[in-house]
Assembly symmetry: C2
Homo-oligomer: 346 residues x 2
DNA sequence: TATTTTTGCTTAAACGATTAAGCAAGTTTT
DNA sequence: AAAACTTGCTTAATCGTTTAAGCAAAAATA
């Protein structure tokens, strides 16, 4: 069997030259480095013959660049993030980068661990979907001068590059849509989180009610703890329906919340949209296959992912960096679950 | 601001010793290498003080081990594989390994590219969910003595380590279950693929009919090209229903097929299970939220992933390797979509 | 013809770690 | 007091690349 690993040294030996020449030729620097035509050809042939594969490790050690991006997402089991991951991976590859994915599971400690592991794997930079209470980590990255771009979630009080959906606008649109379609008592189930994107979604919802002259009731807004979604959602729905102003529509702030919610709604034998109108953030096959297709806010996943990679790569390759803060629009996909309750004037 | 990157050299300098001593101390070899107590303490303090993080790159270059596993899966957008990926990642981390994930998108060329990229990123070994026509790649890995474990799919004619579900048995059970519940004309929609696991699923289906004295009809088995699922499934269902022996139940060989199938079944306004019984491979929220919860074959995802990692790590750390070929059982989760058609004797 | 320039190559240091080998002291054994 | 260990450290090679600097021979210029 052939040698375990063929290095530049093997080629040099076989060609009867120094390793330097081989390196020059194999990196296309024959002209600048004044390598003879014949010997250049010979080196190339031998390299091909031995099926030489350069060691990424050695290259990286020398250059200080690994051509690797660390992608830290909040939850890989959420299809939204899984898709983001895929887009990022593809786009990175197109730019010559490999991606190492880590899921923080919405947990700041895990996120910190991931960052540490990836930093001393020498990733060139990060794309991060932040989890709650991870502000300090972002500050650390800035202090250490490690390039990164925040994705989907960002901290308004920390000046960083980010690419995100306009969560406020999305939520506002969803609320307005429900009002226009005749729903009068619109509830929202959200994560009990200080994360800005969640606060924005809530703010958008409340403003949409206010601007449409609907009196917001405290019992309509239910924050659910992220680690007890299933039960939290159940209880929230029960309460929303039991109040003296029972809701006739619910806006779910995330995909996971709506999945739990729809299960419970089925269980209660409520009909959508007759008994309860539904709009949800996120997108998934579930929403198409549910007996009543679900109206949802479609985030521009591909564009989000691509732009994040593009931004990061720009930061990595050029050193001028005008900070970029990009907000994108979500699209409201109208389905049966938020159908107009009765003919409404427009 | 502090130095960009602190190396063993910086510590040595500050402590007034050679780099060798630092290395010994930081690797806990103080005893074997007879390092003085005082200086050892001093070195540790300085390392902590400077927040020294060893360069994984340099370590790997020296040792030839990267402590990285390459995970190549057939399709990251399929929740089954996404979950597998998550399990593998967690289990690997528990063993001190990092995972680099790549999706081959069921394409042999892409799979080959991924292997190449990861090989010269020097991953220590692979866990692979093979795509069609990638046998040669498996042979190459064997020739190059690169450790790997096949996951979920394997090639019976190539002796390799693998961890897989017993696809034959799963399919056989599903078929038998439908027969027992009174379905008489059971169709199957599968991928048009030579992959062994798919052939096994088909064989299990056919054997279950045979053993239950049901005359298999050629029109009941529909292979669908993997890159035209949506239309392929539509056509298949239409044909199955139009034949003179129209099916009264369908077994879907994969999650993606059933999602497409259910959409079309909705569109045809067929009722499940009254008009059509359904059993599917794979598992997902879809199956719970569909108006009629879907009976499915639940593969032991966690155990599959963990075992694969365990096996690979064993191959990487010890050099004795009795080949391991592990088959696990899928569990049939019975839901309403394959309800007994009428009271049946058991 | 003497000098400069160009051409085609080699040498060697560097990236950051590990580790076998070696070398002075100090300590123990005879 | 000579021989033999021990102790506590340093030196230097190595992993696979890149690249600045240097050097001799050939070619161009004076």
């Amino acid at each position: 069997m052939s040698k375990i690993k063929v290095s530049i040294k093997d080629i040099a030996q076989k060609a009867g030259v120094s390793t330097a020449l081989v390196s020059y030729v194999l990196n296309g620097k024959e002209k600048e480095s004044r390598v003879g035509q014949e010997i250049a050809l010979k080196i190339k042939q031998i390299a091909a013959e031995l099926n030489y594969q350069p060691s990424h490790l050695a290259k990286s050690l020398r250059s200080g660049k690994t051509h690797t991006i660390g992608l830290i997402i909040a939850d890989i089991s959420n299809p939204f993030f899984a898709n983001i991951a895929r887009v990022v991976e593809d786009e990175a590859k197109r730019n010559g980068y490999t991606v190492i994915i880590g899921s923080s599971d919405e947990n700041a400690d895990k996120s910190r661990d991931l960052l540490d592991v990836l930093i001393n794997r020498q990733v060139d930079g990060f794309i991060i979907v932040s989890s709650e209470n991870s502000e300090q980590q972002i500050h650390n990255l800035k202090d250490k001068n490690i390039p990164f771009v925040l994705l989907d979630r960002y901290f308004p009080e920390i000046p960083t590059d980010f690419v995100s959906t306009d969560h406020y606008k999305a939520s506002y649109d969803a609320g307005t849509h429900l009002v226009r379609n005749g729903y009068k008592r619109i509830g929202m189930i959200a994560y009990d989180s200080h994360l800005f994107h969640m606060q924005e979604r809530i703010r958008g919802y409340r403003d949409s009610l206010r601007d449409n002259k609907i009196d917001f009731q405290n019992s309509w807004l239910k924050p659910v703890k992220i680690n007890t979604i299933e039960n939290g959602v159940k209880a929230s729905i029960d309460e929303m329906l039991a109040s003296d102003q029972p809701v006739d529509a619910i806006l779910f702030a995330t995909y996971s919340l709506s999945v739990s919610g729809l299960k419970h709604i089925n269980h209660l034998r409520l009909r959508v949209p007759e008994d309860l109108g539904i709009v949800s953030f996120g997108q998934a096959e579930v929403f198409e296959l549910y007996y009543c297709p679900i109206t949802y806010l479609k985030q521009p996943i591909v564009l989000l992912g691509q732009t994040a990679v593009e931004l990061l790569v720009k930061k990595l390759t050029s050193n001028l960096n005008e900070p970029a803060q990009i907000l994108m629009k979500a699209e409201l996909i109208e389905r049966a679950s938020s159908k107009a309750k009765y003919s409404v004037l427009t």
